[in-house]
Symmetry: C2
Subunit: 255 residues, 2 copies
DNA sequence: CTGATCGTTCGTCATCGTCGAACAGTTTAT
DNA sequence: ATAAACTGTTCGACGATGACGAACGATCAG
């Protein structure tokens, strides 16, 4: 999958270490042998990588089994706070969740994926698998569409080339033209929607966040499809979401 | 500093990548040239590492300058939630902060450092530089002492050998015997204290958390030294802290 | 327009990452 | 109790590959 590069100066040993870390993540911790056969590396190679990573705090060993280390938490919190949006969006998102009772997210694009940087739950918010730090595809999330709609066409194309339009439910948009239409209508009316396109029964509305004319992220509000189905109540809900986005944009411009 | 190892099979290129990541962290993002001269690597080497790390989401480039990527947030949140203590301690810590109005931490030991895995602020809690994910030395924090006091003597020695007893204030304990005495008295009475040993004006009380007879972490409560100076009110405060710790220990044993 | 600086590309050489075999513990099954 | 089948770890040697300096094109300051 990566041997076709040819002249690229990518460091194989570093990528091996990353593969070990990914495996440790997928398997929720594992031993040398398990990782070695999962990646088709030799045991000694895996051991070398693990001990190097452990010496640096990215891995921790508990009597034969290895896990990801707390140094990731250190870097992770730093990266979260380094996002200009975080400090501003956090209180606004929390307030919107309290007002509406639903779950509210703030997401940022990086590497073609939308990542949750902060989240707040309302009183009646439903369960979800989206946590802070979760990466999600942009074609099937309300916030992702909001961001995608405001990128250069080339960039959008590149993102769709890289990640495809994976189908999660019967409602997921899997055709490019369909998605482009959706992005255009969303761009025109100022908000975006994900109607059970990622999880059955879950609908979300998304609004982009602009700073200096550039879209730097988006907020989205998600809840049960039943509750968010009507067009009448949506008007009220949407003005609340757009109002929150507006507050964030203004706050962002003053710091 | 590491060339004296001799026979160790540590992967130099991986450690170089880690050094690049650390530099990116220290400098809050930087360009190739800046990193290269900061680490005394060649520009092309730094570039190779950065592009490899970027291809994997650990670094992101914004027009010439590089920053740490959001993938660290993904891993960081995962590691946080992977700690058995996290889910149990979070609500208990929050409640204690509300009750007392002070700032409360839950910390876990790894690689000889105490790392904050969750934290809650009370209404009158003071400012601090401790965030979730912050690593701190164990000899000068209340939670760190609580954990240190219950490790094997060999382990404690190894930790002090590795990290030393760095002096932060005039109150910091910098001699081993002094620390061992302090750990013993704390172990006997069941709680530990840090009286302005890390930051002037900040005092903290710490209590260990046991699971199956083993200490897996600690909680601590910190506030202004003035407020936490008396011995009378401390009695009340300490029973609240110990009671919270007790709740966590019981909850932990039932999952 | 010019000089200096940036990030990037490229090809070479010597380093050092990889592997298999052997090691020492630990658990499982007989 | 004993052996067989694991585990993680150590070690040395070979050859892939990571590091470097030089040259590149792009950008910015004066």
């Amino acid at each position: 999958m990566d041997t076709t590069d040819g002249s690229s100066h990518t460091l194989g040993s570093v990528e091996k270490s990353i593969a070990v870390l990914e495996t440790l993540w997928k398997l929720d911790g594992a031993g040398v042998t398990r990782i070695a056969q999962s990646l088709d590396f030799s045991k000694s190679t895996v051991h070398d990588h693990l001990s190097t990573l452990e010496r640096n705090g990215f891995v921790v060993s508990n009597g034969g089994t290895y896990e990801l280390g707390l140094r990731f938490l250190n870097f992770g919190e730093y990266v979260k706070r380094a996002q200009p949006l975080y400090a501003v969006a956090k209180p606004a998102v929390t307030e919107l969740a309290e007002q509406t009772g639903e779950r509210v997210f703030c997401m940022v694009e990086q590497h073609g994926l939308a990542t949750v940087i902060c989240l707040a739950e309302g009183e009646r918010s439903v369960q979800t698998d989206l946590r802070v730090g979760t990466h999600s595809y942009m074609h099937c999330s309300a916030a992702g569409k909001a961001i995608l709609a405001h990128l250069d066409r080339d960039r959008t194309e590149a993102i769709l080339d890289r990640w495809g339009l994976k189908k999660f439910t019967g409602e997921t948009i899997t055709e490019r033209d369909h998605l482009y239409d959706e992005l255009e209508t969303g761009r025109d009316r100022g908000w975006f929607v994900n109607r059970e396109e990622y999880r059955p029964g879950v609908t979300a509305f998304g609004v982009p966040l602009r700073s200096n004319g550039e879209v730097t992220g988006a907020i989205s509000l998600s809840g049960p499809a039943m509750r968010l189905a009507g067009d009448w109540e949506d008007r009220e809900l949407l003005t609340q979401i757009r109002s929150t986005a507006n507050v964030i944009e203004v706050d962002l411009s003053f710091q």
